[in-house]
């Protein structure tokens, strides 16, 4: 297999409006807003775009919708939909398309108005005859069972899970566009309304509107643009199941497979990574991914996060934007992890900027721990 290490770089990033967007705004409006802001961010034009990759839960044929909306006829378009990790898969597909000479400037975009139109209206669920009669509150109940299993096997506590939410909140305080920035304590997480035991509402990601885009291009074209390129050093994709009934082991996610694939392609290991952006749809996610991506051993995630290691000033910066728990979570959050990882390498993160970031890992999760996709980004020094 051809090694595509560094054959494309993220050169532009942008969020669309976030939080609660204006009335009657559509997911397409937000994707268009994100696309133009991301192109402006790097100094490219809409007419430069010859690849368009996008996903949303609110449209069945979103690539068509966006090509019409933007008035573009890209050489390649792709609306791979595997939930929140779709955008990491898109990045892998961009690498392949560029390597095959199909396109040179690709946009990956997302948009959702799920806060405005309600979660139920924004993402229809496939009927699941072997689960529906039991009325699991999905996706929360699936992740809650993973947490219950982790607590059973490793003695992980609700307090340790709550530490993930508190760390995310402390990062969000450093991010001016984060949705929730007020103080949050372990006790407040534990005493919030119970949703699906062991999760209270504070163990669960936000429900916001939002979208954005990233622009990727070749190293040659990246050199002339406004900001430092964040090179794509390696990607890994893994689907272990669709429904939680069929997840082989609820304490081991597909990140245990996607991570090593990405590390191998990038030629780096967990110890080399300067910042981790991990899809925190629920507090248990951060624990599972820290373990499965090799930051700590299996079962040690609880003690690790409770020690303050992932909070601002801790030894491993995790979810530096405040995460899906406190920054924003418009349904399929993966794109925002790529945005933050690229920005940490570009050095444009303001108060939350980490020093000397050369390697950043963005890990996406989709469905009910179903699709796991890892992207490792590097500065020019890592090429």
């Amino acid at each position: 297999m051809t090694n595509l290490r560094g054959n494309v770089a993220i050169v532009g990033t942008a969020e669309s409006d976030l939080g609660q967007v204006a009335p009657d705004m559509t997911p397409f409006d937000l994707m268009a807003q994100g696309t133009m802001r991301a192109l402006d961010n790097c100094g490219l034009k809409l007419s430069d775009v010859d690849g368009y990759f996008c996903a949303t839960a609110q449209s069945r044929m979103v690539a068509m919708a966006m090509c019409e909306y933007l008035g573009i006829q890209p050489k390649i378009f792709d609306s791979t939909q595997i939930g929140g990790s779709s955008f990491m898969a898109h990045v892998a597909h961009v690498q392949a398309a560029v390597a095959a000479g199909v396109c040179e400037v690709a946009v990956v975009a997302y948009g959702s108005t799920q806060r405005t139109v309600s979660r139920a209206a924004s993402s229809s669920r496939d009927p699941i005859p072997h689960e529906d009669p039991y009325r699991p509150f999905m996706p929360s109940s699936a992740y809650a069972m993973a947490a219950a299993r982790h607590m059973h096997q490793y003695g992980t506590t609700r307090e340790q899970l709550a530490a993930v939410a508190v760390a995310a909140r402390d990062w969000a305080k450093l991010n001016p566009v984060a949705f929730r920035r007020e103080d949050l304590t372990i006790e407040e997480v534990l005493s919030a309304p119970m949703i699906s035991y062991p999760f209270t509402v504070r163990d669960i990601c936000l429900v916001t509107d939002g979208g954005g885009a990233i622009v990727l291009t070749t190293p040659e074209r990246a050199k002339d643009l406004k900001l430092k390129p964040a090179y794509v050093l390696g990607t890994g994709e893994y689907i272990s199941h669709n429904t939680i009934t069929c997840m082989p082991d609820l304490t081991v996610s597909g990140a245990a497979y996607s991570g090593p694939i990405a590390y191998k392609k990038a030629g780096v290991g967990a110890k080399d990574i300067d910042v981790f952006e991990l899809y925190d749809a629920f507090t248990i996610n951060t624990l599972l991914f820290l373990e499965d991506l090799g930051v700590v051993k299996k079962g040690e995630g609880g003690a690790f996060v409770a020690s303050g290691a992932i909070a601002p000033g801790g030894k491993v910066p995790v979810n530096t934007n405040g995460g899906g728990l406190s920054y924003c979570h418009p349904g399929m959050y993966g794109l925002f992890l790529l945005i933050e990882a690229a920005r940490q390498i570009q050095g444009v993160c303001g108060d939350r900027q980490q020093k000397n970031v050369d390697l950043a890992l963005a890990h996406g999760n989709g469905g009910v721990l179903s699709s796991q996709c890892t992207v490792i980004l590097g500065s020019e020094e890592t090429l």
């Binding site: 072997h130 689960e131 009669p133 109940s141 993973a146 219950a148 699906s196 939680i244 609820l250």
Partner: protein, 127 residues
């Protein structure tokens, strides 16, 4: 309308439920499969139906707190035959359903709104 089509796996499963049976499938090698399918995952090979003894152990569990109504259990049950299914453990406080609890199947009869489906009781309560 075609009269030679295969019956859907879901229909067969529900026919068993109506008779009070928890049905599952096995591959040629005897590997148990759940949920019901047309072909075996991994090989695409044939599947045959079997009836479970209905005894199992809670593998994972949560209690759902709905906005309206009482909290209820959702669990993943490992059946003794070696397959896993989602279900609800009844006749026990949902917060007292624990991983490792032994449970026995019971069928909820069909209604006008819903086909029959299996739930579980703690083995002690089922006696």
């Amino acid at each position: 309308m075609s009269d030679n089509g295969e019956k859907s796996p879901l229909a067969v499963f529900r026919e068993h439920c109506a008779k009070g049976e928890l049905a599952y499938q096995v591959t040629k090698d005897g590997k148990p499969i759940y949920y019901p399918r047309i072909v075996a995952p991994g090989t695409g090979g044939p599947l045959t139906w079997k009836v479970s003894k209905g005894l199992g152990t809670v593998y994972a569990t949560t209690t759902v707190f709905p906005r309206k109504g009482d909290p209820y259990d959702v669990s993943l049950i490992d059946l003794d035959e070696g397959f896993r299914m989602m279900s609800r453990v009844e006749n026990i406080d949902p917060m007292k359903v624990t991983i490792g609890l032994r449970v026995k199947v019971r069928m909820i009869a069909a209604t006008e709104k819903e086909p029959p489906y299996p739930v579980f009781d703690p083995v002690e309560a089922a006696r």
